[in-house]
Symmetry: C2
Subunit: 520 residues, 2 copies
């Protein structure tokens, strides 16, 4: 049980996330909800010719070796679309033309609709989306250490995601609340995601019933008809391939259900170089690309024009232990190559902010900033696990969440365009101050200093002596104080009482029905 905060008692009458800025107890200023824009072209780490080599090798793989599809109905759909499917065999082969023609209908950009339209998102182009971490089995904080996921922590992470404008979407369950029975967990979690936040969110493709419940609850939350929902993407899911070269039943069912309803699927092969993928990064990308293309093509066979994202998750493993590594040079290379491939196909690109560190030390920071470097310059549109990720995804940390929020805000500030107007160039101010003077007191400074620079949450800029006398605090210790201060300020977003009631009714009815069977 979480004994620190009392956010459920907070008044829900006032809405956060408006255009005005709010200063928190932690000194963090919440800017207006806004997607950062990358104003420069992403970096091409490989030549066009080299990208074509990966592309062609992937297509050859799909046509010659093929991919194993465990879902009978999916194979039927693929067969109808022209894939080579042998009765009684799971291996599906697709020729290059079939793949490439299928991809044509994937939109290069689309709008993802939130129940609060201020939190709608543009997916694709030069716009960025940062998503709260998802799917950790454990969570941790400096006060109570590491523990299994539970509903209290789950809710607190949702609150942090809601109240920080730099987190644009809830990327799934920040931590898996295993204290809720699996048969009804999705109902409880969806209910929390919809009521504790008014941002978009990600659902899990764990069988038809759960996905159907999620889509219906999303429809209710948005207060729209099924037809409108079909035209307005409002909820998304991650489709992980079962690398190498395998698409399993829940994932294919997820594409059938989500793409069928016009909701975005984020196709993300889990191709760890050296383990489930070749030990070379170009080789791992061949596999990543083949798997991504197969599932992306399938989404269009289900419903041409359904939105989708090209996901890259390729990293390397520690060849001594087999454990996955993140935020490595190889990870950055894979991020850049993945971006080049996604741009080649004109599909929005998903990547991540990940690390393998066990605590919020220098390692956590450098692996995360390297990941962000790869994500931004590699052309990422949708940055999953952007805040909270620790231990290669096995833990969502409250302190890491604050660190990442700070990092993301710094990245957004870096991307903010500069003003090169005469007044900003300050020629007059420089002439006035003159040689050997200083700018502290100049009117040019005075009129701007309050908003001139990003004010970091964690950076301790005191001089050594003052910092030493304060007990030599580390960034992690400061983060520990901040997340508690932030949570204490949480205010639940408004929700139409009729919508809230409809949601409650739906959840109660489905719970009374027993939820979903858990022996799938």
């Amino acid at each position: 049980m979480n004994d620190i905060i009392i956010p459920d008692e907070a008044p829900s009458g006032r809405r956060r996330g408006g255009r005005d800025r709010k200063r928190s107890a932690g000194g963090a200023v919440q800017k207006a909800f806004q997607q950062p824009v990358r104003a420069f072209a992403p970096i091409d780490l490989a030549s066009e010719e080299e990208v074509e080599k990966i592309h062609k090798a992937s297509l050859r793989l799909l046509s010659e070796t093929g991919i194993r599809v465990l879902h009978d109905g999916a194979r039927e759909i693929m067969k109808k679309a022209g894939a080579e499917v042998v009765p009684g065999r799971m291996r599906v082969r697709m020729d290059p033309d079939l793949v490439m023609e299928s991809l044509q209908t994937i939109p290069s950009q689309f709008t993802l609709h939130a129940r609060n339209p201020e939190h709608n998102l543009q997916v694709g182009g030069d716009k960025l989306i940062f998503a709260m971490m998802a799917s950790a089995p454990n969570c941790s904080d400096l006060d109570h250490g590491r523990r299994s996921g539970n509903q209290d922590d789950f809710r607190n992470f949702l609150r942090l995601a809601q109240m920080h404008s730099i987190l644009h979407t809830v990327g799934g369950y920040p931590v898996e609340p295993i204290d809720i029975h699996a048969s009804v967990r999705h109902l409880e979690c969806l209910s929390d995601m919809i009521t504790l936040s008014d941002k978009t969110f990600c659902i899990y493709s764990l069988g038809h019933e759960r996905v159907a419940d999620a889509i219906e609850m999303t429809r209710i939350a948005r207060g729209v008809s099924a037809d409108t929902l079909r035209r307005e993407p409002s909820v998304y899911t991650i489709i992980n391939t079962n690398s190498p070269l395998q698409l399993d039943i829940p994932m294919m069912q997820g594409i059938i259900d989500m793409s069928g309803m016009g909701q975005p699927v984020v196709i993300t092969p889990f191709t760890l170089s050296g383990a489930m993928a070749p030990v070379t990064i170009p080789g791992a990308l061949v596999l990543q690309n083949a798997e991504a293309l197969a599932a992306l093509a399938f989404s269009q066979m289900v419903n041409p024009g359904a939105p989708a994202m090209y996901g890259g998750f390729t990293s390397n493993v520690d060849m001594k232990s087999g454990s996955p590594a993140f935020g490595t040079p190889e990870y950055m290379k894979a991020q850049h190559l993945g971006g080049q491939l996604a741009r080649r196909y004109g599909i929005p690109y998903r990547t991540s902010n990940v690390c393998a560190a066990n605590t919020v030390d220098a390692q956590a920071a450098y692996e995360s900033v390297f990941s962000l470097w790869g994500a931004i310059n590699g052309g990422g549109n949708f940055i999953k696990h952007a805040a909270g990720w620790l231990e290669g995804g096995l833990c969502c940390s409250f302190e890491k969440t604050i660190l990442d929020i700070d990092l993301l805000q710094m990245v957004a500030e870096f991307l903010k365009p500069m003003d090169f107007s005469e007044d900003e160039l300050g020629l007059e101010a420089i002439a006035e101050v003159g040689p050997g003077g200083h700018f502290f007191g100049s009117p040019h400074t005075q009129s701007r200093y309050q908003d001139a620079f990003y004010s970091p949450i964690l950076s301790d800029w005191r001089n050594y002596e003052t910092w030493f006398q304060a007990g030599e605090p580390t960034a992690m210790q400061k983060a520990n104080r901040i997340w508690k201060e932030r949570l204490a300020e949480y205010q639940q977003p408004d929700i139409d009482p009729a919508v809230a009631a409809e949601l409650r009714d739906f959840v109660e009815r489905r719970k009374a029905e027993g939820g979903v069977p858990t022996d799938f």
Copy 2:
């Protein structure tokens, strides 16, 4: 006194830095000495038009407001070259044509010669140089805390710089050894830099005599004539402007002495936005650029064709306390803009790897990686303070040195070109492994796994349980172990006995003469 290591007793017969790789006790593999290459174009954060605005504003500043030059002889040289100098006044004005014509003779690339030719460096183009930190008044390690600079620590940092191939040059005194009298300090330090390392190094422009001693010792170390030295840049100096708009006597004397001898000057305005420069980043860049252009032009008035670098050091200050901040979003912006300006003039670009953290925590890591991000994508050629920098430059840390070496090696690994040959793409291996298999045991993996991925020095990739049982070590604690292990392995590089004797004689003679007056 440093009681940890005994490197002076290490045999000096074997040379480090050859083409073979050496595995250290710390698990760090020393690759062959090699400059990383940026194979992609740097990022243009501003449009060409916006860069022109900064350029033109800077030129206007130099022609209308002018710059204060404290050195009488320097003003004479500028006057002769065509600058507007009023007798008895220190203000010098230069018209745009004079500035731009002067810059024409600066080489866009040159070779910096080390006494060991294997450590020669290409300056400019797409090649990178990482320099050991310089000029800290203090140093620290986890065992003995923070202390004033001294010769033992100074020497140990030099040893670390020498033995890590990713550090391409000694950027100056890593820490100021204040236990050596100022009159002879430069002689002792130069002697150490030349004998404990065989890489290039940076000297301080602290008056004519010191610079003359340094140039002569460099000549002796290289075993060449003064004429050869004049043609072969072998030692460099940092020229900091006294911002705003001021060039002081030792700095201008440094340009006269160094450029006069064909040795590179790294012109680096110290333009902290909000303090010595306008509070806007474009405004601070106008000032940086004006000061840099003035000093760069002056170097060519002294000796047309003398090598020089365009240095950028613009960052912001904490507007609450006035203390400088580093590795911030504003710093990254300034790094990118500085690179665009340097490229506009075709001059090699110097930037830095800096932070404001007081300890080697998450803050130190994120500020440093942001600095490296800005340096690499901003088009830096020469990255000063690349390893060791802490506390905004007030401290050189042994643990930070190891962290930075790891970061630099990761950056170099990221920049290493990938091989897209058929065999590396691994199509055959993927087909062999097939759906649902794994690549651990495949011949494609077996033949490559040992060198496939960068093996980090500090990253702890053990799972949480193992790491927890090991006492929850942070990256800083691991770094503490590593630097001691590394130093214990240090071997002094070879030196020609005749050269060593000549150096010793020179130093003894100059010390007998009393060194240099310290009341300048």
